[in-house]
Amino acid sequence: MIEYLIDGPLWYFSLAVFVIGVLWQLGSIVFAGRKGDLSVARGNATSSGFKNIFSRFIPHREIAPQIGVQVVAGYLFHLGLFALLFFAAPHVLFLEENLLGFGWTPMPHWAFIMASQAAFLGLIILWVRRMTNPVSRLISTLDDHIVAILTFVVMLTGCLALLEGFNALRLLHRFTVELWLIYFPFSALMHTFTFIPSRAFTGAWFGRRGIDA
């Protein structure tokens, strides 16, 4: 019964919530009415906006030394997580069989282990920093902690099921993934997508004033 729920209805429900929620949130940003800027532009807003989406992956030299922990841990976590998400062998197989109908070469087992270790280390450091740094503690909300812990649990259940020998562990992982998908569109997890319009807007703003942001 539980197996049926997790593999069937709950999976489709969470997927629907995720897709519709994300599209709705992005739609309300992208398709919202906007006032044009009446001042005369100096530079090209569009190209600067596009450029800024990528240029902000690298912190400014002037601030990098002060934010070293966040940058290093942030990259460890995000790169590790993306590698796991899209290149872990069970994930590739799952996507091929259930969603896409095609697959790609997954990463070898040792790469999987290293990616997950990087992701865990990064996430733990970022979360500990959130708890101990006075700035982060002041500005963090309940949602930030839920997101961190939920993501941790999803990654953890995935790794606990690494042997792929127990259905219970597979179901546990899938269940936490479903919770994560349902929570996604209404939380800080949305930054996965909204960082793109945010960077683009800000890059465009600076760009039309002739500034390289």
């Binding site: 949130q25 939380s187 960082f195 945010s198 960077r199 800000t202 703003w205």
Partner: protein, 426 residues
């Protein structure tokens, strides 16, 4: 505070709701509270007070966004589980937004998800201003700007007296209300009251370069207190005066003075404040000087031998895009020019922008924030600092004096005027 929502709160909420656009939605939904912006803010780095974290200064807006625009917030509000934004919240944020932020925009450069934090802070400031939570000093200057026409109470008579003085000093005449001139120059209050050298330099340079220009008796004041206090309506009224003056004299171009926020108000925000595009061009004085230099209309002679550096005014460089021009202008007249650490669009603010310098309550905090600039200047061991914003200049002069450092501040336009090649002057 009773059950009934006060009028002030309602006014503030109305502004916040009106300002809640697609950008704000994108910004708040992408912010992960990483705290990187704190390290970019000199009010945080110099005080170590987490409350000065830039994104925290937007809290009233975020709170409203959470409770009225986010899923969980709306659900929680429906169930009566959230604390709504209160008047006390607005009152609490007055100090953070007015005293603890110079609108320098450094945070907007470093945010990893690309939030233009200072833009959102300005929206909060707008709401606070309309709700009546602004420091007394700024309220008074803004009122004076509306009533008298200038925040420092400068009248046409004061300007006329200064013009007489300048004409006597230079032997040149200052054009006033010349219809059909190419350029209309503006002055900031500081430049009238504290630094008359600016007008004197303009007269000399324009004479040297043969520029057709004029002052307007109707619109000579460039300072925009509306922008400083954050009230877009008042800012629009003040911009409209300049537009009216320029239209009356049918000039092709209006010259923003060195003053940083005046440039922002005129060049970038002005048309949006008044809701229509200008029939003329707006240039910053440095842009114009660099154009004239490139055209060969300004010829300089002699070099400054002192060790000099340039302080980038935030509103002109990081938020204004005039970055190469000051360097182009300094290059031919300085022998010993050094760049400050973090110069250009990642410069550190003097600490007095965004109305902080006009806010007496913020005096001590401003001096603390100045420590950043102080250490930068000390590091370079320069003989003088050049800048191109009368407000930066005043704030840095105060700061250096308070720290008993005898380093002179120079205006870039004056420096050019001192090096004009007299042989070419007509």
């Amino acid at each position: 505070m009773g059950e009934q929502m006060s009028e002030r709160l309602e006014k503030g909420l109305a502004v916040l709701r009106a300002e809640m656009d697609y950008k704000v939605h994108s910004f708040f939904s992408s912010c992960v509270n990483c705290g990187v912006c704190a390290e970019s803010c000199l009010f945080y780095t110099e005080t170590n007070d987490p409350r000065y974290t830039p994104i925290y200064k937007t809290e009233p807006m975020r709170k409203l966004w959470k409770s009225e625009y986010s899923f969980w917030g709306r659900l929680a509000s429906k169930l009566g589980m959230t604390k709504p934004l209160t008047e006390a919240d607005l009152a609490d944020w007055e100090e953070l937004v007015y005293d603890g932020c110079s609108m320098c925009g450094r945070c907007s450069m470093v945010c990893p998800v690309g939030v233009d934090i200072s833009m959102v802070i300005f929206k909060v400031k707008h709401a606070l201003a309309v709700a009546g939570f602004s420091p007394e000093g700024l309220v008074e200057t803004t009122q004076r700007a509306i009533d008298v026409g200038s925040p420092m109470g400068v009248t046409l008579k004061t300007v006329q007296a200064m013009i007489k003085h300048v004409e006597a000093n230079t032997g040149l005449s200052v054009p006033m209300d010349v219809e059909g001139a190419d350029y209309m120059a503006l002055l900031s209050s500081n430049e009238i009251a504290l630094y008359p050298e600016y007008l004197e330099s303009l007269v000399k340079i324009f004479d040297h370069a043969g520029v057709s220009w004029t002052l307007s008796s109707q619109a000579f004041e460039a300072t925009n207190s509306g922008l400083q206090i954050g009230n877009k309506k008042i800012a629009g009224q003040l911009v409209q005066r300049v537009v009216d003056g320029a239209e009356k004299l049918k000039v092709k171009t209006v010259i923003s003075p060195e003053c940083g926020h005046a440039y922002t108000a005129l060049r970038w925000e002005g048309p949006n404040f008044i809701g229509k595009a200008y029939p003329f061009r707006v240039v910053h004085i440095l842009e114009l000087l660099d154009e004239l230099r490139a055209q060969g209309r300004i010829k300089t002679t002699g070099m400054e031998t002192d060790r000099l550096t340039f302080h980038d005014p935030c509103s002109i460089v990081r938020r204004g895009g005039v970055q190469a021009q000051p360097r182009n202008l300094l290059e031919p007249i300085t022998e010993n020019f050094v760049e400050m650490a973090d110069h250009g669009s990642m410069n550190w603010c003097c600490g007095g922008g965004g109305g902080v310098s006009g806010n007496e309550r913020a005096h001590d905090l401003k001096l603390t924030a100045f420590n950043k600039k102080k250490s930068q200047i000390e590091e370079l061991k320069v003989d003088a600092v050049v800048t191109a914003c009368s407000n930066c200049r005043m704030v840095m002069e105060d700061g250096l004096e308070a720290n008993e450092m005898e380093i002179p501040l120079l205006g870039l336009t004056e420096l050019i005027a001192e090096h004009l090649d007299e042989k070419r002057t007509s």
